[in-house]
C-alpha cells in the first residue's frame, strides 16, 4: 500500500494523547515481588506512566483488614498497613501513583465465600456495609497521614471491578452494586470532598443497560460521581488449546463503535454531559494467556487504538504493564501470552515500543490518519508514529510519505523501527526452542533482540519543505523524529574523508 500526505504551515489536527495517564497491573499484592518492581522500573524509565490501577487492594495478601479474637475471647478489628505502605512507598519512588480500585472483599468481612481467580479474591458484598466504609475511610486516612493530603486526594478512586459479571460480583447483582457504590462514594467524600470517585467499572457485557441504570441511580440518589469508568477489549471469545486461548480481533471500527455508544449514553444525561470517561482496562484479548499479546501484530493494532482512544476518553489504561500476574496461575514460560508490556525476565514486547513511541507524541498534532500520527513539539521538532497492522494476513507492506513544512536548512531524521524482522522477541524465543525458564545468557540475548532498529538520515539545504519516506513491513510500528542538525565541524574533521581516504594502500 502506498500513502502520501502533505502538511501545510499552520495545519492543526485534533489528537488527545493520554497514553501515559494510567497503566494496569495484576493484583496489588504482587507489587511486593522483586521481579514485579524490576519490570515496573524498566517501564517507568522508558515510558513513564502517571498512574497504576490493579485489583485486590483489600485482599488477604495485602492483609489490611483483620477481625481478630484473642485468647481471652475479646474481638479486635485491626488494620495492618505493613504491606500497603511498602507497595505505595515503592510506587512513589518510581514516580507512579495509584488509581485506586476499591475491592475486593476481605474474607473476614465477606457475606459469602465466592472467589475469583487462582489467588481467590472474595467477590461477595460485605456482611455489614458499615465495616466496609470504615475500612475504606481508615485506609484513605492512613494514606493521607503517611503521604500527605495534597498527594493522596489526587489519587482517583474507582468502586469495585466489573460488577456486571457474576464472576466478579456475586450474581452480578445490579442493585447491590449501586448500594455499594453509593455508600462507598459517600464515605470517600466524607473523608475529603476533594477525592474524585467513579464507577461502574463495567466491561462489555450488557454494558449499555448497566451504564444507563447506573447513571439514573446516581442522578436519582444524588450519589457523588466525578467520572465514569469502563473496560475495553477488542477480541471475540478465545479458542482454547491447553493453557492457551487463540482469538480473533475485532475490526477497529466495530471496536470504536462500542465506545462511542457509551459516550452517547452519558451525554444523553444533561447532568453528566461531557463527564470524563476513564477506560480503566483495555487490551486486545481479555485473557492472560493469549499468544497475540506477545506479537508484533498486537503492537501495530494497539498503535491504531492509541491514535483514537483519546477522542471520547480522558484516559485509557493498558492492561497490564508487566507479566507478573497470577489470575490463571503462574505462567509456565516467559512468552505465555500475558497482558504485559514486559515479559517475565524483563524482555520488552513489541507493544512496549508502541507506548514508548506514543509517549513522544506530545505537542501540536499536524497529521492523523489510519496509519499515522505526526506532531510538532514545543521545540519545533516533528515526531511521528506510523503503523501497519497485518490483521488479515495479507502480508502487505506500507510505503508512507509525508511532506512537512520546515524552517531550518539542515536536519537529522531519527527512525526507530519495530517489526517482525528486527524486533521480535517472540520469534527469537521460539527459535531458541521455547525454553520455559531461559538462562541469564538467553535473557540477555532476548533483550538485545527486543530493541528497535535505530537509523538516521541527513537532510541538508532543505528548502521550506521536506518529504519523509518510510517503508513499513507488515506489523511494523515506526517512530521518526526530525530535528535541526547543522554540522558543527571540528578543525580538520571530515566524515567523508574518514570513509574515503582511510583505506588500504593502493599500490
Amino acid at each position: 500500500m502506498e500513502v502520501k500526505y502533505r502538511v501545510n504551515e499552520g495545519d492543526r489536527v485534533t489528537f488527545n494523547n493520554a497514553v501515559d495517564f494510567c497503566v494496569g497491573t495484576g493484583r496489588m499484592g504482587l507489587a511486593l515481588q522483586e521481579e514485579y518492581m524490576q519490570q515496573l522500573k524498566y517501564v517507568q524509565e522508558n515510558i513513564g506512566f502517571s498512574h497504576i490501577r490493579g485489583h485486590g487492594l483489600f485482599c488477604e495478601d495485602v492483609s489490611i483488614y483483620h477481625d481478630f479474637t484473642d485468647r481471652e475471647g475479646n474481638r479486635h478489628v485491626e488494620y495492618c498497613f505493613t504491606y500497603l505502605d511498602r507497595i505505595m512507598d515503592r510506587y512513589l519512588e518510581l514516580n507512579i501513583r495509584p488509581f485506586l480500585e476499591l475491592g475486593f472483599m476481605p474474607k473476614d468481612m465477606a457475606s459469602g465465600d465466592q472467589t475469583v481467580f487462582y489467588w481467590k479474591g472474595n467477590v461477595t458484598p460485605p456482611k455489614d456495609y458499615k465495616d466496609w466504609t470504615t475500612l475504606v475511610q481508615t485506609t484513605l486516612r492512613h494514606l493521607m497521614e503517611r503521604y500527605g493530603r495534597e498527594e493522596v486526594v489526587t489519587w482517583p478512586l474507582e468502586v469495585w471491578n466489573e460488577p456486571n459479571l457474576p464472576g466478579f460480583w456475586k450474581d452480578a447483582d445490579m442493585q447491590e452494586y449501586f448500594k455499594l457504590y453509593q455508600v462507598t462514594a459517600a464515605a470517600v467524600k466524607e473523608v475529603d470532598p476533594a477525592f474524585q470517585v467513579g464507577g461502574p467499572a463495567i466491561c462489555g457485557v450488557d454494558d449499555e443497560r448497566w451504564l444507563r441504570m447506573f447513571l439514573e441511580f446516581v442522578r436519582d440518589n444524588k450519589a457523588p460521581l466525578d467520572f465514569v469508568t469502563r473496560h475495553h477489549y477488542t477480541s471475540y471469545a478465545p479458542k482454547w488449546e491447553g493453557h492457551y486461548g487463540y482469538i480473533n480481533l475485532h475490526r477497529p471500527d466495530y471496536a470504536f463503535g462500542v465506545l462511542e455508544k457509551s459516550r452517547e449514553i452519558i451525554d444523553s444525561f444533561p447532568e453528566f454531559r461531557g463527564m470524563d470517561i476513564h477506560i480503566t482496562e483495555f487490551n486486545t484479548s481479555y485473557i492472560p494467556n493469549a499468544p497475540i499479546h506477545d506479537t508484533n501484530l498486537n503492537a501495530a493494532y494497539v498503535a491504531h487504538m492509541l491514535s483514537r482512544l483519546g477522542d471520547c476518553h480522558a484516559s485509557y489504561s493498558y492492561w497490564t504493564f508487566g507479566d507478573v500476574f497470577e489470575e490463571h496461575g503462574v505462567a509456565f514460560t516467559p512468552f505465555s501470552g500475558g497482558f504485559g508490556l514486559v515479559s517475565n525476565g524483563g524482555v520488552p514486547k513489541p507493544t512496549f515500543w508502541t507506548f514508548a513511541f506514543f509517549k513522544q507524541l506530545m505537542g501540536n498534532c499536524v497529521h492523523r490518519s489510519e496509519n499515522a500520527v505526526v506532531v510538532k513539539g514545543k521545540d519545533g521538532n516533528y515526531r511521528g508514529c506510523v503503523w501497519n497492522p497485518d490483521g488479515k494476513l495479507t502480508g502487505e507492506e506500507l510505503d508512507f510519505e509525508i511532506t512537512l513544512p520546515m524552517v531550518q536548512k539542515d536536519y537529522a531524521m531519527i527512525v526507530k523501527t519495530v517489526d517482525e524482522e528486527c524486533c521480535n522477541p517472540l520469534k527469537l524465543w521460539h527459535d531458541l526452542g521455547e525454553p520455559a525458564t531461559p538462562t541469564k545468557e538467553m535473557f540477555a540475548l532476548l533483550k538485545a533482540g527486543a530493541q528497535p532498529k535505530i537509523t538516521t538520515e541527513r537532510f541538508e539545504n532543505v528548502n521550506k519543505e521536506l518529504t519523509v519516506k518510510l517503508h513499513l513491513r507488515k506489523n511494523a510500528v515506526v517512530y521518526f523524529e526530525l530535528r535541526p542538525a547543522t554540522i558543527v565541524g571540528d578543525t580538520g574533521y571530515s566524515y567523508e574523508k574518514a570513509l574515503a581516504e582511510c583505506v588500504e594502500d593502493p599500490e
Copy 2:
C-alpha cells in the same frame, strides 16, 4: 564475492586465540578518572581482558617518587602510593591486572628535561641508576605487600616504551637503553625470581637492528629475559588536516610479513628460539586522532588481524580499550578518531564488537580462512566470526557458506551483525551534526544505535550436516552460533497458531 567451505567430522585447524590476554590504556594516571573506569567496566563486562598495559607508572600524576627537602634542609626520598593503590584496587575489582610498563622517569630523578606528550612524560635516563632500581624494587615490594606475592608475581614487567624512537627515549640511545634494561631486569629478579620481565618494547622503526642487538646484548651479558615485546601498527604516515590524520592501511600480507621477520630473528638465536613474543601495542593507525579507528572498516580489518596474530605471538594488546586519552591533548568530540574500543561517553565502536565476537571463539578451531574463523566449543556448539573489510572501496559484498557436521536434530542459529547499516555510531553521530558534547539523550541514542543486529533461525530435522549461509555487506563483521534447540512446548502452545489465528475477525 562468494565462498563455500565444508568442514568434515574431526577436522582440526590451528588457531591460537589470545584475544583477551591484554589491552592497552593511555597513561596510568587517567585511571583515576570516573569516565575511564566506566568505560573499562563496560569493556570488562562485555569482553573481559586479563591484563592492561599503559604508560606513565612513574609519572608525576601518579606521584610515586619524591625527593623532598624539608624546611630544615633535610632531604627525604619518599614514595607515595595513594594513587597507585587506588588504581590497582579498581583494576582488580574489575578483574583485570596490569602488564606493568616500567617508565617514564620521575622528574625528581631525571637527568634531563625532555618530555613526551601533552602530559609531559620525562624520557631521559635517571641521574643515578641506583635511585631508579630502588624505585622499581620499592614499588614491586609495596604491591606484593598489599596484593599478595602470589598475585603480583604474575604481573608481567616490561622495561620502558619504544626506546628506538628519540621522542620516547633521549636520542634513541641504544646502549643507554640496554643499560637500563639490564639493571632493571636484575633488580626485578632480586625482588622475586618469579617475576617475568621483558623488552625492548620497540616499534617498527629500525626494529630489526634493534631486536638483533638487544638479543645479543642480553645473551652476552646474561641479562634476565623472559619474553620479547614489540609494537605493531598497520598504516603509513598520516595526512594531516587540522587535528586529524587520514591514513592508508598496510595491505595485510605486508603487515604480517614484518612480524614474521621478528619471529625469525628471535628464533635465529639458539638461546631464544621459541621465546614468547608479546605485541604490547597494536592497532591500525598509530595516532590518537585518526578517524579510521571509529569506522566499520577498522572493525573488519582488525577481525582479520585477530585471526592471525596468534600465529607468531603469545599475545597482542589492542591500543587502547577506551578514549580517555590525552597524548595529543583532550579530544574535542566523542568521535575524534581515538584508539579506544569505546568512545568518550561510553559508545562501543564497531571494533569493540570484533573483540566481543572473537572472545567467544574458544574451543577447537575447525575452519580458518581469509574471511572467517569457526570453532567448536566444549559444549559442542559451533561459533564463528566472518568479516568483509572493504579496504579498497570496491563495495563488494560477501556470500559466505560453510557446511558443518552436526549430531543433533534441531538447532537454533544466532547471528549478530555489525555493519555500516545496522551498527555504525560514527554515521549516527555525523547525521546528528557531529555534536562536540552530545546530550544524555543523544548518547542514549548513540549507544542504542551501536548494538549488533540480532537475528535467529531454526534448523529442524538436521541430517548429519547443516549449511550456514551468511550475506555480509561491506565492512561487516558477523558472529554466528549454532546450538541444539528442541522445542520444549508448553501444553497447547503453538507459535504458528499465534501468528496465523490471532487475527482480525474475517467477516
Copy 3:
C-alpha cells in the same frame, strides 16, 4: 562479676565453629519478594551463610506441581519451574544454596485438606506415593540441568518438617512418615547417589522415641540415611497477650542436655555412631511473635549457644535470617518479635551481630569458657567474642580479663560492642512511639542506631604477653581483635602534636 584467664603459648581448645553453614527462612515462596531479597543481601554481605533452609518448596505459591485437565477432558501432569528457578537464581547470585526441605504436599496431590499456617501448607500424605517421588525426582533433575550436577548434588536434602507434630504431619503418624522417608530417600538416590539425604526433622516433642524408632526403621529397612536432623528451641510455652507471646528461656544446661541425649541415642546404634547431626532449626522461642527475639538478651543468650552447639552437631541453622515471614500472618510492626536477624525495613537486630562476630572466630581456639571464645587466626591475629546475658534480671556487669601470649611489639585492639545502651534498635523504636510503619527517615535512624560501637586501643612495646580487659554491661556481646600495628609515620606527622599544638592562640 569478674573473670580472669590466661592463655599460654601453644594452648589449644576444642571449638567446632559451624556458625555460617546454614540459616533458616520462612516459606520459599516469600523469596520472590523484594524486601526478602534485600534482607538476605544484607545478611550475606555482613555475615555470609553457605546454605538456607525453609518450608514450602512444593506449595502452591511456588507453583511447581499441577494436575491440569484441559477443556477436552485430557489430564496433564505438569511441572512449572518459573518461580523455583527465579528463587534459585537469586540465591546463587547471593552466594547461598538451599538445604532443601522436601515438603509440603501440593494440593493437587494431597490425600486430605489439612493445612498449616496462615499460608495454608497442606500436611497430608500424597494420594499416590508414585506421584510424590516423581515430583521429587523431576524437580531434582530439573535443578541439575539448570545449575549443573556438580553444584546440585552438594545441596543437602531433608525429608519433610517436624512430622512428630500433628500440625505438620497428619496425626503425627510415625509409620506414614517412615514410609514417606523411605520412598523419598530411595527416589533421591536413584537420581544421583551423590545426593546426601536425611531426616527425621523432629522438634522436641516425644523426640527421643521418634529418633530411636526412626533409626531402627532405617537400619531394618536399609533406607539411605546420610545425616540426622532435628530442631532446637530453648523456651517454655508462651504466655499470650493479643498478638504476642512472652516466654521463659530454658537454662542453658537444661537445653544442652536435651541435645546430648539425641547424640547418645544415635551413637548407641553401631551403624550410625558419629553420624552428622544437623540442627535444621534453632532459636530461643519457637513462635514468630515473641518480643524476646528483638532484644539484646537474645543476642547474648545466642552467643552462648553458638559457643557450644558445634560440640555435638555438624551444623545449626538459626530460624530465621529475616522477618519476611507469614506463618501467623503479616506482622503489624517491624519489631513484632519475628525470628529474623534483620527486621522488616532492614534493621539488624542485636542477634545479627552475634552471628557477625562468631563468623570472625575462625582459626585455632585458644580459650573457651562460659562467657567467651578466643581464637588465633591464620594471620596470627587474636579474635574473641565475650557475652554477658542477663537472663535472671540481676543487672550484673562483667569484667573480663584475658592474658594472651604475643610476638610483636605494637598492637591495635579493635573492639565492637553491642549492648542495651549503644546498639538497641528495639528501644529506639519504642522511644519513637512504636510506629507500625516507620518512615524512611525513621528507618535510617533505626539502622544508624543498630550498629555496634567501634573503639580502638594501642598497645606499644608489648613484652611477650598482653592483657585484654573488657567491661560488659548486661546483655552485652563484645567482639575484639588484636592485630600488629606499628606506626608507619609520614614525614613530620605526629598525632600527639595534632592534639596538643593545634589549639587556640594562648597569648
Copy 4:
C-alpha cells in the same frame, strides 16, 4: 562548665543559617576523578549543598582554551568543552551548581609563566584582555546553550582568586586586578544582565585597604558589582614539620572582629550599604596539610563559627568538601590534614557532622548562645546543636540544660553525639598504625567508627515544658531533636514485658 537556659513561648532569636549555600573544592579538573565524585555524592546525600566553588576553571587540565596552529601555519582559536560539560553534568546530577570563579589564566593566553601550586595554575594577566573576555563570554554562552539560560544565570560569578597575594596574582598588582575585574564584569553583563558578578575574592592580607580601594574603583568606574567576596581563615602561620603544619587558632572574638571590619567598610559606602558578602572560602587553617582539620576540636570550633557567620554574610563556603586536592601535591595518607569534610577513602571527619547537624537547624531560632543554637521547625519539632570546643586544652566538660515550652504530652528526644570517644576516625586510624593506604577492610572500620552515636529518650505526660539535659565531653558536637511520639501500641505488645518477662526459667 554548667549552663542553664529557658525559652519562653514566643521567643524568637536572630539566626541566619546559610550553612548549605556553598562549599569549596580543589581545582575543577579534579572533578573528573572517580574518588572526587564519590566523596561529593556522599556529601550531597548527607548534607546537601546548593553551590560549589573551586579554582582552575580555565586551567590546562580542564582544557577549554587553545591557540592552535595547524601544519599549514594557520592559527585557530578553539574552545574544548569536553571536560567542562562532563563536570557540569555530574554536578547537576548531584544537585549542586557552580559558584564560578573565573580563573586562572590559560597558558596559551598568559602574559607570563608564573604559576601557583603543584598543578601549576598560571597567575599572570592575559596577553590581550579581549581574548580573555571572549573566553569568558564563549564559556558562559556555551553553558547557557547546554543547560538553559534560566539555570545558568543563577550561577554566581566571582572574578579571580585572592589577587591581594602575589602568589595568586602577579605582584598582587591592584590596578591590574581592577582592570581585570572591570572588563570581566562588563563582559558577563553583556552576555546576560541577569548574571550576578562579584569580587575581589581577597584573603586577610592587607585586606582592608584592598576592599576600600576596590569599592572606590567600582563606584568611580561604574563597574557592575552584585556582591562582595572575601576569605576567612582563623589561624596563625603554621609551624612546619616535614609535610605538616601545626597551627594556633584565633580566638573566636578576634576572628569575628576581622569580618565585622569588612562589613563596616562596605556599609560606609552609601552605594554598597547592605550589599551581600559571600565568604567564598573559610576554614580554621589555610594550609591543606594541617592535622587540625581532621580533629574533633575542628568540628566543635567550626560549630561556633557556623552559629555566627550568617550575622554579616549572605553565605560562607567551607574550604573544602573533600580531600581530593593537590595544591601541595598528592596526600601521602588519608588523614594528612586536608581541608575536606570527607577524607580520601570516604571517611567523614568530625567536622562533616557539624555541617550535617546545622543543616537541620532550619525554622525559627528560639535560642542562640556561646555553645548552642536551638530552632523550632515548621513541623513544630525542636532541633538543636550544642558544642564544647576545648581550644585551650583544659579538658572541661559541659553540662547543658535548656527548658522549652511544649504543647503535646509525649515526646521522643533523639540525640546524635560526635566526640573524641565515640566518633573520632583520626584516633582510630592512628591506633591502627597510621596506614598510608588502608585496605578496604580498614576503610570499612574507619567509616563505621566515624558515625555519630545515636541515643533516644522518651518524655511522657509532659506538662507544658520540658528540660533537655545534655552532657558534652571536650570537643563534642551534639545534635538533638524533640518530636511528638505517642505510643501507638499494637494489640498485646508491651516493651516493658519484653524486657521483664522474657527471661530464664526461674527454677
